[in-house]
Each structure stands twice: as C-alpha cells, then as structure tokens.
C-alpha cells in the first residue's frame, strides 16, 4: 500500500502573549514530537481526553496550522514526495487539498446556512475545476447524495431543514466529492445520537471499501475507535503514549493511562457495575506547564522515582509504548 502522509517529530506550540507589547510569556505545548505514517486504505484512530492534542494533530495535518518543529511529508498518487511542513507552492497545495479532506465534529456549524446542499457539495468541484459543464457537475453531486443515503431532490434545500445525522451525511458527501485519498474525521459522531451514530460509521466504512480511502479517525469514544481503526494512537497531554494495532491494543494495553482509560468506559451491564472503583484520580495537568518527566506521572499508580525525572521514550517497534515500566 502506498504511503500518503508521514510525520517526523512534529511539534506544535502556541505562544501565550501578555502585556502591551504582547511579549511571549510561555507556550501551550499542544503537540510534542509525533511520529506516524498512514497508508492507503488504512484507518488510524487517535484517542485521548480533551486537551490531549488530538484535534491539534488533525489541524496540523490539514495545514490549518503549520507545525512549530518537525517535518510532514506528503506522497502523491505517483509516489512523489513533498515536504509540506511550511509554506508550499500553489500547485502542490491544490494537489494536497484534493487528496486530503476533513469531516468535522459539529454538522450544525460546518455547513454554511446560506448555501444550498447542492452548492455546498459542488464548491470543492468548482474550485478544483473538475467538470466543464454545470449539468455534468449537477449529475455528479446528485449521485453523491444517493451514495451517502440521501435523496436527489435535497439538492436545492438548505442545511437547517436536516437533522444532525443527515447533515453529517452531507458533510461526508462534500468530503468525498474530490475522491480524496485521506479523510481526517474529527469526532464525526460525537454530536449524534447512538442510533444515528451507527449509520454514519457504517457509511464511512462503506466508502472506504469502495474507494480505498485512508482515515485518521479522531475521537474520545474508545468503542467507536476500536471498531473503525486498524491502528490506534493514544495521546496524553500532547504526547503519543501508546500506539499499536487496534486488537493488540485492546487485548493487552501496556501504558497505565490506556489501561485506566479503558476501565473508565461504562460497562452496559447493571449487574456488574464497574465504575465504583475509580481507576484514575485527578485531572490532566495544564499543557502550559506540563510536569517534568513522564506527563502522566502525577496520576499514575505505578509511579517510580525515574518517572518525574526523565521523559520516557517510545519503545518497541510494533506495539509502541512510552513508559518506564517497559525496557
């Protein structure tokens, strides 16, 4: 399978400015050296609690932000490599943006209320000048609507006429319009009801099968991430603390944080209530002044002396884990 994106030590710090001269007084360390690569037809799940940097990662990859440090390499269809960490020229930019699309969390905000569904879905097609005539374009958009499970005659309606699940389908139709190779989905189902959530996940999976699309699936919902992903990255305070194949990760989580996270998910069995023993005390520290050493050590129950002094590096090649417990 062809590689699409690869990141090497990507960091993102946001400066905090204060005073009349807007002097930089510190940084929000949103992302600390992230390394991963994604191939065609692969789904990588990114899990973590709010503030762990998972959304920042998505935004750095879509180039909404430029990384503070590190390299992002993008490989096009023919396997040619482009360094897109900083400013890129217009031609590469167009190519990159047609290869990479995004589906956002809240479908109530991500669709322009003043545009019809047809306009919304055909906008990327017009920007990239895919079709020569209007009628060709219209037929294609109608096909897309059918593909995502909506009716053709929704073409000239407005977003407010649709429910959350339907809007997310529209957002997905827009994302697949340019036949991208990678779609970044940032919490695509967390604003939806459970009965609708499954519909959207099924749709995303079907589209993947049909077009070999790769997904980066960002979510806080472990069950959903497990279902869709081939590989899962667990993030904590801007760091990737564990990365493995999804089955491997769920069957034998290594990092204490991953273990605690899994124990915190409610169990759906009233006879075996598992939340009575709390697995994780306290709250994540602030990313402005992260604790020295391992970022998780203040909440970790296996804390050792070394944990507060030295930051653990990623160990193992396949089931990656950053923890001093493992040598």
């Amino acid at each position: 399978m062809k590689k699409i994106i690869e990141t090497i030590n990507v960091k993102k710090y946001f400066p905090i400015k204060k005073g009349i001269f807007l002097k930089t007084v510190g940084h929000v360390k949103a992302l600390e050296s992230v390394n991963f690569s994604i191939h065609e037809n692969q789904t990588i799940g990114v899990v973590g609690e709010s503030g762990c940097g998972k959304s920042t990662l998505g935004r750095v990859l879509t180039k909404i932000y430029n990384p503070t440090e590190g390299t992002i390499n993008y490989y096009d269809k023919d396997g040619e490599k482009y360094d897109i960490s900083n400013k890129i020229n217009k031609k590469t930019n167009m190519k990159y943006r047609s290869d990479l699309q995004m589906v956002f969390q809240n479908p109530f905000d991500s669709l322009d209320p003043r545009m019809t569904i047809g306009d919304i879905i055909s906008e990327p097609l017009q920007i990239h000048k895919v079709f020569k005539t209007k009628s060709e374009e219209k037929d294609y958009v109608k096909d897309l609507l059918k593909k995502v499970g909506l009716y053709e005659d929704y073409f000239s309606r407005y977003p407010h006429e649709f429910s959350g699940g339907q809007r997310q389908r529209i957002a997905i139709a827009r994302a697949i319009a340019l036949k991208p190779r990678l779609i970044i989905t940032d919490e695509p189902t967390s604003a939806l009801d459970i009965s609708v959530q499954s519909q959207v996940i099924n749709l995303l999976k079907d589209i993947q099968k049909e077009n070999n699309i790769a997904y980066i699936f960002i979510s806080h919902n472990l069950d959903v991430v497990y279902h869709v992903s081939d590989r899962i990255m667990v993030m904590y305070l801007g760091n990737v603390v564990e990365e493995a194949d999804s089955k491997e990760l769920f069957e034998s989580p290594m990092h204490p944080y991953t273990q605690a996270l899994m124990k915190s998910v409610p169990g759906w069995n009233p006879r075996e209530r598992k939340l009575s023993e709390i697995s994780l005390e306290g709250e994540p520290p602030s990313p402005i002044a992260p604790p020295p050493g391992c970022p998780f050590h203040p909440r970790c129950k296996y804390k050792m002396d070394i944990c507060s002094k030295e930051k653990p590096t990623i160990k193992n090649a396949d089931h990656k884990v950053a923890c001093h417990l493992f040598k």
């Binding site: 609690e49 709010s50 429910s163 959350g164 699940g165 339907q166 009801d193 459970i194 009965s195 609708v196 959530q197 499954s198 519909q199 996940i201 099924n202 999976k205 806080h220 919902n221 472990l222 069950d223 959903v224 497990y226 279902h227 999804s246 089955k247 769920f250 605690a260 996270l261 915190s264 998910v265 409610p266 169990g267 759906w268 069995n269 009233p270 006879r271 209530r273 598992k274 939340l275 009575s276 709390i278 697995s279 994780l280 005390e281 709250e283």
Partner: protein, 329 residues
C-alpha cells in the same frame, strides 16, 4: 419501594410555532420514589429535557401550553404562584445542568454563587455560610476549597465546575435532584469520578434523582429504574435489569443493539433505520412505526398505550399488548 416523592400525571407541554404545534412532551406519566435514581433515556428531541424543565417551572406558560399534573407533597406544583415556586426550586428540587461552563455566572466567585444559595434558601449570613460551603466543597472532592472559594468559574476545569454544581444543589439538602446530562460534556475518566460522587452523595443525603441521559452505558452504572422516551412519550418502563436483560419495545432493543461492541469489528454495525419524526407532525399511530421492523397496519393507525407486561415492566407496543389482553380475558 418506599414513598412517592413526585408524581407526574399525563403531563403535556406544547409549543406553538410557525410550522404548527410542537408536541414536545405528550402525555407523560411517572412516579419518583424516595431515595431512588430514575433514568430518563432517549435521543435528542424526545422530550426528556422539556419534561424536567416543566417540572422545574422553567418553561414559560403562556406561550407554552402545559397540561396535566405534577404532584409534590400532594400539591400540584403547576398551580403554584411564582413566589412559591421560587421557594421550592433550589430548596426542595435541585437541578444539575449539562454544560458546567455556561451554568455559572462568570462575573462572580464560586464562593459568592454558593453563598447566594445559602442566603436565599437557608437564610444564612456570610459568616455562617462560609464554613458550610467549604465543608460541602470538600465533600465533592475539590482540592484546597479555601482557595477555590475566592476563584472565578473560568479558573476551573469542566469536571471541577460540575463537582461545584453538585455541591451547590446539595447544600440545601433537596428531596429531588434533576440531573440533565451531567456528564455528557466531560471526559470518560472524569465522568467516572463524577458519577461515583453522585452515587455516594445520593446515599448520604437520601435524595431522589431523575437522571436524564442518552448514554445507556451511564444508565447501567447508576440507575435503579429506567424510563425510555421516544418522540414525546414514555414507551417503556422497567427496572434497570429489565431494560438490559429483557428489553421489550423494538426501539429499546434497537438502542441497545446500536452499541458499538468489540464483536462487531470489521462488520456492519446494527442500527435503527430512518430518523425521528418531526415534532410538528407526529403520525396518528405509533410514533416509532416508520422505523420499526415489526410494524403492522394497526401500528400505523392507533397509538399504543403503556401496558403492564410483567411485575416490573410496562411497554407501549402492540406486540405485547395483545398477549396480555388475551390472558386477561
């Protein structure tokens, strides 16, 4: 079970809009017993929040049309004057909201906002209230409560604010606590902490809780009884074991099956087809008929009523109704 603390009888809350009358709550009846946690479960727009807003007197009528009875201590609280309602709300019936970030006033300190409650409902002055507040903050697990007392809401995390909100409602020792999706905005590890806290405090204060949520996982961890709502009606009532072990209504079954579990990996997830009908034109028959795989002609024409199907179970579905009717005859 013990005494009833709240009785809701055939409650209807309608809103008139340009597109027609929205029947947000359409004939809901339930009882709340002393010291229990009752979960109201349903998807967005099913009327679970409006039911509780109506109980709290937060729905303005007119313009809204409210019918039915809400009996608290034998009195219909819908007939109370504004002044009397205010005495009840906060003191006898407390509420925890979904978004802790927007439920606090950003211009006042945490301590002041808690003091306001003590002043209004307990008649305490600042000096007497402070130790009580600090003790309460300690109880909900706020570190350094003396310092937090003088801080503002923006200095706290979501989880901490939710704990403070719990402290704020429990400080008056209310009989009833209404919690509207209290953990939806929180992370799972924090959610586990808050749920645990609520459960422990509920035992300590012997409060009855109406817990509103769409998350069946949370319900299984916390509730004693569960009522499932769909399109403005309660369609199934049971204790918590009944819902998870022998669900009856096709909608409840569908909801439980929609859970993403490990066994579905690499397979298609089961789901309920279609969408919830619009609140302005509900069908005459069963409101779930359109999405139901057991739908018959009768379902399309007549709306089913809740029928007792077993000791603990009530279901509004013709699949069960006829059976029991025959037995009765």
């Amino acid at each position: 079970m013990t005494e009833k603390v709240l009785e809701v009888k055939n409650l209807k809350t309608y809103f008139r809009t340009m597109e027609g009358t929205v029947k947000a709550v359409d004939g809901v009846s339930f009882d709340l017993y002393e010291g229990e946690i009752l979960a109201l479960v349903g998807e967005s727009g099913c009327g679970k929040s409006i039911t509780n807003m109506t109980i709290m007197g937060l729905v303005k009528s007119p313009p809204a049309i409210i019918e039915g009875e809400i009996l608290y201590n034998g009195k219909n609280i819908l007939e109370l004057s504004k002044e009397d309602y205010r005495k009840l709300r906060g003191k006898e019936i407390g509420m925890i909201f979904q978004e802790p970030m927007s439920a606090f006033d950003p211009l006042y300190t945490i301590g002041y906002q808690l003091f306001e409650v003590c002043k209004t409902h307990l008649g305490l002055n600042k000096k007497d209230a402070k130790p009580k507040i600090i003790e309460m903050l300690k109880k909900v697990g706020i570190p350094e409560p003396e310092k937090r007392f003088d801080e503002y809401p923006h200095e706290m995390s979501g989880g901490m604010l939710q704990r403070i909100m719990i402290a704020m409602t429990l400080i008056t020792n209310p009989k009833i606590l209404i919690a509207d999706e209290p953990t939806t905005a929180l992370d799972v590890t924090i959610q586990a902490q808050v749920l645990n806290l609520m459960k422990n405090l509920q035992k300590e204060f012997n409060t009855s809780i109406i817990f509103i949520t769409h998350d069946l996982g949370v319900v299984s961890e916390l509730a004693d009884r569960v009522h499932v709502m769909y399109a403005g009606k309660i369609i199934e009532k049971s204790d918590v074991y009944g819902i998870y072990e022998t669900p009856e209504h096709p909608y409840t079954k569908g909801l439980l099956a929609s859970r993403v579990i490990k066994e579905y990996k690499d397979r298609e997830l089961p789901h309920i087809p279609g969408f919830v009908p619009k609140a302005t034109n509900f069908p005459d028959g069963c409101r779930f008929a359109e999405r139901c795989s057991f739908c018959t002609e009768k379902c399309q024409k007549v709306s089913p009523e809740l029928i007792k199907t077993s000791e603990i179970h009530e279901t509004a579905c013709f699949l069960y109704g006829e059976d029991t009717n025959e037995k009765d005859n």
